[in-house]
Protein backbone atom coordinates (compact mmCIF):
# COMPACT_ATOMS: atom_id res chain seq x y z
CA UNK A 1 0.00 0.00 0.00
CA UNK A 2 1.48 3.35 -0.92
CA UNK A 3 0.30 6.40 0.97
CA UNK A 4 0.47 10.01 -0.08
CA UNK A 5 2.89 12.35 1.65
CA UNK A 6 -0.03 14.09 3.37
CA UNK A 7 -1.47 10.85 4.73
CA UNK A 8 1.91 9.91 6.10
CA UNK A 9 2.34 13.36 7.64
CA UNK A 10 -1.05 13.22 9.41
CA UNK A 11 -0.43 9.65 10.42
CA UNK A 12 2.98 10.32 11.90
CA UNK A 13 2.09 13.71 13.39
CA UNK A 14 -1.63 13.50 14.07
CA UNK A 15 -3.18 16.86 14.95
CA UNK A 16 -5.52 17.23 17.90
CA UNK A 17 -5.47 13.72 19.29
CA UNK A 18 -7.41 13.45 22.53
CA UNK A 19 -10.80 14.38 23.85
CA UNK A 20 -12.99 16.73 25.83
CA UNK A 21 -15.38 15.94 28.61
CA UNK A 22 -18.42 14.88 26.67
CA UNK A 23 -20.76 16.24 29.30
CA UNK A 24 -19.42 19.75 29.08
CA UNK A 25 -21.73 22.31 27.54
CA UNK A 26 -20.72 23.23 24.00
CA UNK A 27 -19.04 19.88 23.38
CA UNK A 28 -20.45 17.68 20.65
CA UNK A 29 -19.27 14.09 20.35
CA UNK A 30 -19.61 11.91 17.28
CA UNK A 31 -18.62 8.26 17.20
CA UNK A 32 -18.93 6.49 13.86
CA UNK A 33 -17.84 3.20 12.35
CA UNK A 34 -17.56 -0.21 13.95
CA UNK A 35 -14.65 -2.38 15.11
CA UNK A 36 -15.82 -5.19 12.85
CA UNK A 37 -15.49 -2.92 9.83
CA UNK A 38 -11.93 -2.01 10.81
CA UNK A 39 -12.48 1.63 11.70
CA UNK A 40 -14.02 3.64 14.51
CA UNK A 41 -13.72 7.43 14.67
CA UNK A 42 -14.52 9.61 17.63
CA UNK A 43 -14.67 13.31 16.81
CA UNK A 44 -15.37 15.99 19.39
CA UNK A 45 -16.01 19.66 18.75
CA UNK A 46 -16.10 22.50 21.24
CA UNK A 47 -18.50 25.21 20.11
CA UNK A 48 -18.55 28.73 21.59
CA UNK A 49 -21.58 30.92 22.18
CA UNK A 50 -21.35 32.37 18.67
CA UNK A 51 -21.77 28.92 17.20
CA UNK A 52 -18.11 28.79 16.09
CA UNK A 53 -16.07 25.64 16.57
CA UNK A 54 -13.20 26.72 18.80
CA UNK A 55 -11.46 23.44 19.14
CA UNK A 56 -11.67 19.82 18.03
CA UNK A 57 -10.24 16.49 19.13
CA UNK A 58 -10.23 12.98 17.68
CA UNK A 59 -9.39 9.42 18.42
CA UNK A 60 -9.41 6.88 15.64
CA UNK A 61 -9.07 3.14 15.45
CA UNK A 62 -8.32 2.42 11.83
CA UNK A 63 -5.85 2.43 9.00
CA UNK A 64 -3.47 5.26 8.19
CA UNK A 65 -5.99 6.90 5.86
CA UNK A 66 -8.69 6.83 8.54
CA UNK A 67 -6.34 8.42 11.05
CA UNK A 68 -5.26 11.04 8.51
CA UNK A 69 -8.85 11.82 7.50
CA UNK A 70 -9.90 12.44 11.09
CA UNK A 71 -6.79 14.41 11.90
CA UNK A 72 -7.42 16.59 8.85
CA UNK A 73 -11.05 17.36 9.75
CA UNK A 74 -10.09 18.49 13.24
CA UNK A 75 -7.96 21.14 11.53
CA UNK A 76 -10.63 22.05 9.02
CA UNK A 77 -13.54 22.45 11.40
CA UNK A 78 -11.69 24.74 13.76
CA UNK A 79 -12.81 28.33 13.29
CA UNK A 80 -15.83 27.31 11.26
CA UNK A 81 -19.42 27.69 12.39
CA UNK A 82 -21.27 24.42 12.83
CA UNK A 83 -23.20 25.21 9.64
CA UNK A 84 -19.97 25.76 7.74
CA UNK A 85 -18.50 22.57 9.19
CA UNK A 86 -21.43 20.63 7.79
CA UNK A 87 -20.49 21.73 4.27
CA UNK A 88 -17.23 19.74 4.39
CA UNK A 89 -17.64 16.87 1.98
CA UNK A 90 -15.80 13.59 1.79
CA UNK A 91 -14.63 14.37 -1.74
CA UNK A 92 -12.67 17.36 -0.43
CA UNK A 93 -11.02 15.22 2.23
CA UNK A 94 -10.21 12.49 -0.26
CA UNK A 95 -8.76 15.01 -2.67
CA UNK A 96 -6.68 16.80 -0.05
CA UNK A 97 -5.17 13.51 1.14
CA UNK A 98 -5.02 11.94 -2.33
CA UNK A 99 -6.78 8.84 -1.07
CA UNK A 100 -6.84 5.87 -3.42
CA UNK A 101 -10.28 4.48 -4.38
CA UNK A 102 -10.09 1.68 -1.78
CA UNK A 103 -9.69 4.29 0.95
CA UNK A 104 -12.52 6.64 -0.01
CA UNK A 105 -14.66 5.14 2.76
CA UNK A 106 -12.27 6.72 5.30
CA UNK A 107 -13.18 10.18 4.05
CA UNK A 108 -16.86 9.25 4.11
CA UNK A 109 -16.46 8.21 7.71
CA UNK A 110 -14.77 11.51 8.56
CA UNK A 111 -17.67 13.44 7.02
CA UNK A 112 -20.09 11.28 9.00
CA UNK A 113 -18.10 12.03 12.17
CA UNK A 114 -18.58 15.76 11.66
CA UNK A 115 -22.31 15.27 11.14
CA UNK A 116 -22.56 13.09 14.23
CA UNK A 117 -20.62 15.54 16.39
CA UNK A 118 -22.74 18.47 15.21
CA UNK A 119 -25.95 16.48 15.75
CA UNK A 120 -24.84 15.69 19.29
CA UNK A 121 -23.98 19.33 19.94
CA UNK A 122 -27.35 20.49 18.59
CA UNK A 123 -29.24 17.92 20.60
CA UNK A 124 -27.57 19.14 23.77
CA UNK A 125 -27.94 22.77 22.77
CA UNK A 126 -31.64 22.62 22.03
CA UNK A 127 -32.35 20.68 25.18
Amino acid sequence: MSYSVKVIDHYENPRNVGGFDADEAGVGTGMVGAPACGDVMKLQIKVNDDGVIEDARFKTYGCGSAIASSSLVTEWVKGKTVEEALTIKNAQIAEELALPPVKIHCSVLAEDAIKAAVADYRKKHSA
Partner: protein, 403 residues
Protein backbone atom coordinates in the same frame (compact mmCIF):
# COMPACT_ATOMS: atom_id res chain seq x y z
CA UNK B 1 21.71 -2.56 11.99
CA UNK B 2 20.05 -2.87 8.61
CA UNK B 3 16.50 -1.53 8.48
CA UNK B 4 13.88 -2.77 7.98
CA UNK B 5 14.71 -5.71 10.21
CA UNK B 6 13.73 -8.90 8.47
CA UNK B 7 11.48 -10.99 10.71
CA UNK B 8 9.58 -12.77 7.98
CA UNK B 9 11.60 -15.95 7.47
CA UNK B 10 8.44 -17.98 6.98
CA UNK B 11 7.56 -15.93 3.90
CA UNK B 12 10.96 -16.58 2.41
CA UNK B 13 14.61 -16.69 3.42
CA UNK B 14 17.68 -15.18 1.83
CA UNK B 15 19.79 -17.72 0.00
CA UNK B 16 22.67 -18.67 2.30
CA UNK B 17 25.97 -17.33 0.87
CA UNK B 18 27.38 -20.87 0.97
CA UNK B 19 24.45 -22.00 -1.15
CA UNK B 20 25.03 -19.18 -3.63
CA UNK B 21 28.70 -20.21 -3.83
CA UNK B 22 27.66 -23.72 -4.78
CA UNK B 23 25.15 -22.49 -7.34
CA UNK B 24 27.48 -20.14 -9.20
CA UNK B 25 29.28 -22.71 -11.40
CA UNK B 26 25.88 -23.86 -12.62
CA UNK B 27 25.01 -20.31 -13.56
CA UNK B 28 28.28 -20.12 -15.46
CA UNK B 29 30.24 -22.89 -17.11
CA UNK B 30 28.11 -25.86 -16.07
CA UNK B 31 25.04 -24.64 -17.85
CA UNK B 32 24.11 -27.88 -19.61
CA UNK B 33 20.64 -29.32 -19.80
CA UNK B 34 20.65 -32.34 -17.44
CA UNK B 35 18.54 -34.17 -20.01
CA UNK B 36 21.21 -33.85 -22.69
CA UNK B 37 22.62 -37.34 -22.89
CA UNK B 38 25.09 -36.84 -25.68
CA UNK B 39 27.73 -34.60 -24.15
CA UNK B 40 29.61 -33.59 -21.03
CA UNK B 41 27.60 -30.40 -20.43
CA UNK B 42 24.55 -32.58 -19.90
CA UNK B 43 26.37 -35.24 -17.86
CA UNK B 44 27.87 -32.67 -15.49
CA UNK B 45 24.47 -31.13 -14.90
CA UNK B 46 22.85 -34.50 -14.40
CA UNK B 47 25.47 -35.55 -11.85
CA UNK B 48 24.89 -32.35 -9.90
CA UNK B 49 21.15 -32.92 -9.95
CA UNK B 50 21.57 -36.42 -8.53
CA UNK B 51 23.98 -35.27 -5.84
CA UNK B 52 21.41 -32.68 -4.76
CA UNK B 53 18.66 -35.28 -4.80
CA UNK B 54 20.74 -37.30 -2.40
CA UNK B 55 21.09 -34.33 -0.04
CA UNK B 56 17.37 -33.69 -0.01
CA UNK B 57 16.70 -37.36 0.67
CA UNK B 58 19.29 -37.42 3.45
CA UNK B 59 17.69 -34.58 5.40
CA UNK B 60 14.45 -36.52 5.73
CA UNK B 61 15.88 -40.06 5.80
CA UNK B 62 14.42 -41.05 2.46
CA UNK B 63 15.80 -42.87 -0.56
CA UNK B 64 16.94 -40.60 -3.37
CA UNK B 65 14.62 -42.43 -5.75
CA UNK B 66 11.74 -41.13 -3.65
CA UNK B 67 12.50 -37.47 -4.40
CA UNK B 68 10.84 -35.76 -7.38
CA UNK B 69 11.86 -32.22 -8.33
CA UNK B 70 9.14 -29.62 -8.77
CA UNK B 71 9.07 -25.84 -9.10
CA UNK B 72 8.20 -25.40 -5.42
CA UNK B 73 6.08 -26.61 -2.54
CA UNK B 74 2.91 -25.28 -4.15
CA UNK B 75 3.47 -27.46 -7.19
CA UNK B 76 4.42 -30.37 -4.90
CA UNK B 77 1.14 -29.98 -3.03
CA UNK B 78 -0.77 -29.85 -6.31
CA UNK B 79 1.01 -32.90 -7.69
CA UNK B 80 0.57 -34.88 -4.48
CA UNK B 81 -3.11 -34.10 -4.02
CA UNK B 82 -4.31 -34.14 -7.61
CA UNK B 83 -1.97 -36.97 -8.53
CA UNK B 84 -3.04 -39.23 -5.67
CA UNK B 85 -6.71 -38.26 -5.83
CA UNK B 86 -6.83 -39.00 -9.54
CA UNK B 87 -5.01 -42.29 -9.13
CA UNK B 88 -6.77 -43.60 -6.03
CA UNK B 89 -10.09 -41.82 -6.50
CA UNK B 90 -11.41 -44.57 -8.70
CA UNK B 91 -10.02 -47.35 -6.50
CA UNK B 92 -10.43 -46.29 -2.91
CA UNK B 93 -13.08 -43.62 -3.09
CA UNK B 94 -13.60 -39.94 -3.65
CA UNK B 95 -13.48 -38.62 -0.08
CA UNK B 96 -10.54 -36.53 1.15
CA UNK B 97 -9.72 -35.17 4.61
CA UNK B 98 -7.74 -32.05 5.44
CA UNK B 99 -7.67 -29.18 7.92
CA UNK B 100 -9.02 -25.62 7.79
CA UNK B 101 -5.64 -24.12 8.63
CA UNK B 102 -3.69 -25.71 5.76
CA UNK B 103 -1.73 -23.54 3.34
CA UNK B 104 -3.64 -22.10 0.38
CA UNK B 105 -1.72 -24.41 -1.92
CA UNK B 106 -3.47 -27.35 -0.27
CA UNK B 107 -6.85 -25.69 0.27
CA UNK B 108 -7.16 -24.30 -3.25
CA UNK B 109 -6.09 -27.62 -4.74
CA UNK B 110 -8.74 -29.38 -2.68
CA UNK B 111 -11.30 -26.86 -3.93
CA UNK B 112 -10.30 -27.74 -7.46
CA UNK B 113 -10.74 -31.44 -6.64
CA UNK B 114 -14.18 -30.66 -5.20
CA UNK B 115 -15.00 -29.03 -8.52
CA UNK B 116 -14.00 -32.30 -10.15
CA UNK B 117 -16.41 -34.26 -7.97
CA UNK B 118 -14.39 -35.17 -4.88
CA UNK B 119 -15.79 -34.58 -1.39
CA UNK B 120 -13.53 -32.97 1.20
CA UNK B 121 -13.88 -32.83 4.97
CA UNK B 122 -12.06 -29.81 6.39
CA UNK B 123 -11.34 -30.40 10.06
CA UNK B 124 -11.54 -27.63 12.63
CA UNK B 125 -8.60 -27.03 14.90
CA UNK B 126 -8.65 -26.53 18.64
CA UNK B 127 -8.02 -23.13 20.20
CA UNK B 128 -4.30 -23.92 20.24
CA UNK B 129 -4.26 -24.58 16.50
CA UNK B 130 -3.78 -28.34 16.78
CA UNK B 131 -6.18 -30.87 15.36
CA UNK B 132 -8.10 -33.14 17.70
CA UNK B 133 -7.12 -36.74 16.92
CA UNK B 134 -10.53 -38.07 17.98
CA UNK B 135 -12.23 -35.69 15.59
CA UNK B 136 -9.76 -36.76 12.94
CA UNK B 137 -10.52 -40.44 13.48
CA UNK B 138 -14.23 -39.72 13.29
CA UNK B 139 -13.78 -37.97 9.95
CA UNK B 140 -12.24 -40.98 8.23
CA UNK B 141 -14.62 -43.01 6.08
CA UNK B 142 -14.41 -46.21 4.10
CA UNK B 143 -14.17 -44.19 0.91
CA UNK B 144 -11.47 -41.84 2.24
CA UNK B 145 -8.66 -42.02 -0.30
CA UNK B 146 -6.33 -39.29 0.88
CA UNK B 147 -5.49 -37.20 3.94
CA UNK B 148 -3.44 -34.01 3.86
CA UNK B 149 -2.17 -32.39 7.06
CA UNK B 150 0.72 -29.95 7.23
CA UNK B 151 3.66 -30.50 9.54
CA UNK B 152 4.27 -26.94 10.72
CA UNK B 153 1.75 -24.19 10.15
CA UNK B 154 3.05 -21.20 8.21
CA UNK B 155 1.23 -18.59 10.28
CA UNK B 156 1.22 -19.84 13.84
CA UNK B 157 4.00 -22.41 13.62
CA UNK B 158 2.17 -25.20 15.42
CA UNK B 159 3.30 -28.75 14.72
CA UNK B 160 0.52 -31.20 13.97
CA UNK B 161 0.78 -34.78 15.29
CA UNK B 162 1.67 -36.30 11.94
CA UNK B 163 3.18 -39.47 13.42
CA UNK B 164 -0.16 -40.39 15.00
CA UNK B 165 -2.13 -39.31 11.94
CA UNK B 166 0.18 -41.39 9.75
CA UNK B 167 -0.39 -44.49 11.84
CA UNK B 168 -4.15 -44.04 11.63
CA UNK B 169 -4.01 -43.57 7.86
CA UNK B 170 -1.70 -46.53 7.28
CA UNK B 171 -3.98 -48.80 9.31
CA UNK B 172 -6.85 -47.91 7.02
CA UNK B 173 -4.93 -47.91 3.76
CA UNK B 174 -5.33 -44.18 3.25
CA UNK B 175 -2.66 -42.21 1.42
CA UNK B 176 -1.20 -39.52 3.69
CA UNK B 177 0.29 -36.29 2.37
CA UNK B 178 2.19 -33.81 4.53
CA UNK B 179 3.15 -30.28 3.51
CA UNK B 180 6.53 -29.82 5.19
CA UNK B 181 7.48 -26.55 3.48
CA UNK B 182 7.81 -24.75 6.81
CA UNK B 183 9.45 -27.62 8.68
CA UNK B 184 12.68 -28.57 6.91
CA UNK B 185 15.68 -27.50 8.92
CA UNK B 186 13.38 -26.60 11.79
CA UNK B 187 12.26 -29.99 13.08
CA UNK B 188 13.67 -33.47 12.68
CA UNK B 189 11.84 -35.38 9.93
CA UNK B 190 12.45 -39.11 9.70
CA UNK B 191 10.54 -40.68 6.85
CA UNK B 192 12.03 -44.08 7.63
CA UNK B 193 9.86 -44.07 10.75
CA UNK B 194 6.90 -41.86 9.88
CA UNK B 195 3.95 -43.37 8.06
CA UNK B 196 3.88 -40.57 5.56
CA UNK B 197 3.36 -41.36 1.88
CA UNK B 198 3.85 -37.98 0.25
CA UNK B 199 5.68 -34.94 1.56
CA UNK B 200 6.13 -31.49 0.00
CA UNK B 201 9.34 -29.50 0.35
CA UNK B 202 10.42 -26.02 -0.59
CA UNK B 203 13.96 -24.68 -0.95
CA UNK B 204 13.30 -20.99 -0.38
CA UNK B 205 11.99 -21.45 3.15
CA UNK B 206 15.24 -23.16 4.09
CA UNK B 207 17.89 -20.74 2.74
CA UNK B 208 17.77 -22.13 -0.78
CA UNK B 209 16.57 -20.43 -3.97
CA UNK B 210 13.00 -19.80 -5.04
CA UNK B 211 11.59 -21.78 -7.93
CA UNK B 212 12.57 -25.20 -6.69
CA UNK B 213 10.90 -27.73 -4.47
CA UNK B 214 10.49 -31.45 -4.20
CA UNK B 215 7.91 -34.08 -3.54
CA UNK B 216 8.72 -37.21 -1.58
CA UNK B 217 6.84 -40.20 -3.02
CA UNK B 218 7.12 -43.34 -0.91
CA UNK B 219 8.39 -46.50 -2.63
CA UNK B 220 7.65 -49.05 0.11
CA UNK B 221 4.72 -49.48 0.25
CA UNK B 222 4.58 -47.91 -3.15
CA UNK B 223 2.46 -44.82 -3.65
CA UNK B 224 1.20 -44.09 -7.13
CA UNK B 225 0.49 -40.71 -8.64
CA UNK B 226 -0.96 -39.48 -11.86
CA UNK B 227 1.43 -36.94 -13.41
CA UNK B 228 0.16 -33.39 -13.71
CA UNK B 229 2.81 -32.00 -16.04
CA UNK B 230 3.40 -33.99 -19.20
CA UNK B 231 6.25 -33.84 -21.62
CA UNK B 232 9.67 -35.32 -22.13
CA UNK B 233 9.21 -37.82 -19.31
CA UNK B 234 11.58 -36.22 -16.80
CA UNK B 235 11.47 -37.35 -13.16
CA UNK B 236 10.39 -40.84 -14.14
CA UNK B 237 7.39 -39.48 -15.93
CA UNK B 238 5.98 -37.84 -12.81
CA UNK B 239 7.01 -34.31 -13.67
CA UNK B 240 8.20 -33.23 -17.09
CA UNK B 241 10.13 -30.08 -17.84
CA UNK B 242 13.78 -29.05 -18.08
CA UNK B 243 15.39 -29.25 -14.65
CA UNK B 244 16.74 -25.94 -13.38
CA UNK B 245 20.17 -27.23 -12.44
CA UNK B 246 21.41 -24.23 -10.46
CA UNK B 247 18.26 -24.14 -8.39
CA UNK B 248 18.40 -27.87 -7.72
CA UNK B 249 22.05 -27.59 -6.70
CA UNK B 250 21.03 -24.74 -4.40
CA UNK B 251 18.29 -26.79 -2.79
CA UNK B 252 20.66 -29.70 -2.25
CA UNK B 253 23.24 -27.51 -0.56
CA UNK B 254 20.59 -25.72 1.50
CA UNK B 255 19.26 -29.03 2.75
CA UNK B 256 22.77 -30.32 3.46
CA UNK B 257 23.43 -27.25 5.60
CA UNK B 258 20.06 -27.70 7.29
CA UNK B 259 20.98 -31.27 8.21
CA UNK B 260 24.33 -30.23 9.64
CA UNK B 261 23.25 -27.11 11.46
CA UNK B 262 19.67 -27.70 12.50
CA UNK B 263 20.34 -28.59 16.12
CA UNK B 264 22.53 -25.60 16.91
CA UNK B 265 20.48 -23.19 14.86
CA UNK B 266 17.18 -24.20 16.40
CA UNK B 267 18.56 -23.68 19.90
CA UNK B 268 19.86 -20.22 19.01
CA UNK B 269 16.70 -19.13 17.26
CA UNK B 270 14.55 -20.45 20.10
CA UNK B 271 16.47 -18.28 22.59
CA UNK B 272 15.85 -15.23 20.42
CA UNK B 273 12.18 -16.06 19.92
CA UNK B 274 11.73 -16.52 23.67
CA UNK B 275 13.44 -13.18 24.25
CA UNK B 276 10.99 -11.59 21.84
CA UNK B 277 8.05 -13.26 23.56
CA UNK B 278 9.27 -12.02 26.91
CA UNK B 279 9.60 -8.48 25.60
CA UNK B 280 6.23 -8.47 23.89
CA UNK B 281 4.60 -9.90 27.00
CA UNK B 282 5.32 -6.63 28.82
CA UNK B 283 2.72 -4.99 26.57
CA UNK B 284 -0.83 -5.08 27.97
CA UNK B 285 -3.73 -6.83 26.28
CA UNK B 286 -1.85 -9.10 23.92
CA UNK B 287 -2.61 -12.68 23.02
CA UNK B 288 -0.20 -15.30 21.68
CA UNK B 289 -1.77 -17.38 18.93
CA UNK B 290 -1.14 -21.09 18.73
CA UNK B 291 0.29 -23.67 21.06
CA UNK B 292 3.68 -22.69 22.46
CA UNK B 293 4.91 -26.25 23.01
CA UNK B 294 4.08 -28.08 19.80
CA UNK B 295 5.57 -25.27 17.79
CA UNK B 296 8.57 -24.49 15.63
CA UNK B 297 11.19 -22.48 17.45
CA UNK B 298 11.31 -19.53 15.09
CA UNK B 299 7.66 -18.47 15.07
CA UNK B 300 5.77 -16.05 17.28
CA UNK B 301 2.27 -14.90 16.37
CA UNK B 302 0.76 -12.22 18.58
CA UNK B 303 -2.51 -10.32 18.58
CA UNK B 304 -2.54 -6.77 19.90
CA UNK B 305 -5.98 -5.72 21.09
CA UNK B 306 -7.52 -2.36 20.16
CA UNK B 307 -5.07 -1.50 17.40
CA UNK B 308 -5.88 -1.80 13.74
CA UNK B 309 -3.69 -3.99 11.56
CA UNK B 310 -2.86 -1.76 8.67
CA UNK B 311 -1.94 1.20 10.84
CA UNK B 312 0.18 -1.08 12.99
CA UNK B 313 2.04 -2.31 9.91
CA UNK B 314 2.51 1.30 8.86
CA UNK B 315 3.89 2.16 12.29
CA UNK B 316 6.26 -0.77 12.12
CA UNK B 317 7.77 -0.02 8.76
CA UNK B 318 11.19 -0.66 10.24
CA UNK B 319 10.17 -4.27 10.84
CA UNK B 320 9.55 -6.59 7.90
CA UNK B 321 6.87 -8.76 9.46
CA UNK B 322 3.74 -10.35 8.14
CA UNK B 323 0.16 -9.63 9.13
CA UNK B 324 -1.00 -12.91 7.65
CA UNK B 325 0.59 -15.47 5.38
CA UNK B 326 2.50 -13.81 2.60
CA UNK B 327 0.30 -15.32 -0.07
CA UNK B 328 -2.85 -13.72 1.22
CA UNK B 329 -1.54 -10.50 2.70
CA UNK B 330 -2.39 -8.56 -0.45
CA UNK B 331 -5.98 -8.64 0.72
CA UNK B 332 -7.13 -7.03 3.94
CA UNK B 333 -9.36 -9.80 5.15
CA UNK B 334 -8.37 -11.31 8.51
CA UNK B 335 -6.31 -14.45 8.19
CA UNK B 336 -8.39 -17.61 7.89
CA UNK B 337 -5.90 -19.41 10.09
CA UNK B 338 -6.44 -17.08 13.03
CA UNK B 339 -10.19 -17.15 12.46
CA UNK B 340 -10.07 -20.93 12.76
CA UNK B 341 -8.59 -20.59 16.25
CA UNK B 342 -11.79 -19.03 17.57
CA UNK B 343 -9.97 -16.17 19.21
CA UNK B 344 -11.13 -14.82 22.54
CA UNK B 345 -13.93 -12.55 21.51
CA UNK B 346 -12.20 -9.21 21.49
CA UNK B 347 -13.90 -7.27 18.78
CA UNK B 348 -10.82 -5.62 17.48
CA UNK B 349 -7.28 -6.78 17.35
CA UNK B 350 -4.54 -7.14 14.90
CA UNK B 351 -2.03 -9.90 14.64
CA UNK B 352 1.56 -10.00 13.62
CA UNK B 353 3.64 -12.96 12.66
CA UNK B 354 7.29 -12.76 13.64
CA UNK B 355 9.46 -15.44 12.11
CA UNK B 356 13.12 -15.45 13.00
CA UNK B 357 15.96 -17.08 11.19
CA UNK B 358 19.60 -17.79 10.56
CA UNK B 359 20.63 -14.16 10.34
CA UNK B 360 18.49 -12.69 13.13
CA UNK B 361 20.49 -11.04 15.93
CA UNK B 362 19.79 -10.23 19.55
CA UNK B 363 20.17 -6.51 18.78
CA UNK B 364 17.45 -6.80 16.14
CA UNK B 365 15.11 -8.48 18.58
CA UNK B 366 15.70 -5.82 21.21
CA UNK B 367 15.09 -3.09 18.66
CA UNK B 368 11.87 -4.80 17.60
CA UNK B 369 10.65 -5.04 21.19
CA UNK B 370 11.28 -1.33 21.83
CA UNK B 371 9.58 -0.33 18.62
CA UNK B 372 6.54 -2.50 19.35
CA UNK B 373 6.11 -1.10 22.85
CA UNK B 374 6.37 2.43 21.57
CA UNK B 375 4.13 2.10 18.50
CA UNK B 376 1.43 -0.05 20.07
CA UNK B 377 1.31 2.50 22.88
CA UNK B 378 1.02 5.39 20.44
CA UNK B 379 -1.79 3.76 18.46
CA UNK B 380 -3.67 2.88 21.61
CA UNK B 381 -3.38 6.48 22.80
CA UNK B 382 -5.13 7.33 19.57
CA UNK B 383 -7.68 4.52 19.78
CA UNK B 384 -11.24 5.24 21.00
CA UNK B 385 -11.62 1.52 21.61
CA UNK B 386 -8.66 1.39 23.96
CA UNK B 387 -10.09 4.40 25.77
CA UNK B 388 -13.43 2.60 26.19
CA UNK B 389 -11.77 -0.61 27.29
CA UNK B 390 -9.75 1.31 29.87
CA UNK B 391 -12.99 2.86 31.13
CA UNK B 392 -14.38 -0.62 31.57
CA UNK B 393 -16.78 -0.56 28.64
CA UNK B 394 -17.51 -3.98 27.15
CA UNK B 395 -17.19 -3.41 23.41
CA UNK B 396 -19.64 -6.23 22.77
CA UNK B 397 -22.44 -4.26 24.41
CA UNK B 398 -21.91 -1.11 22.33
CA UNK B 399 -24.39 -0.39 19.53
CA UNK B 400 -22.12 0.41 16.61
CA UNK B 401 -23.34 2.59 13.83
CA UNK B 402 -22.33 0.26 11.04
CA UNK B 403 -21.59 2.01 7.77
Amino acid sequence: MHLPIYLDYSATTPVDPRVVEKMIPYLREHFGNPASRSHRFGWTAEAAVEEARNEVAALVHADLREIIWTSGATESDNLALKGAAHFYGGVKGRHLVSVKTEHKAVLDTLRELERQGFTVTYLDVQKNGLIDLEAFKAALRDDTALVSVMLANNEIGVIQPIAEIGDLCRARGIVFHVDAAQATGKVEIDLSVLNVDLMSFSAHKTYGPKGIGALYVRRKPRVRLEAQMHGGGHERGLRSGTLATHQIVGMGEAFRLARQEMAAETARVRRLRDRLLEGVSTIEAIHVNGDMTARVAHNLNVSFAYVEGESLMMALKDLAVSSGSACTSASLEPSYVLRALEQPDELAHSSLRFTLGRFTTEAEIDYAIDLLRQKVGKLRDMSPLWEMAQAGVDLNTVQWAAH
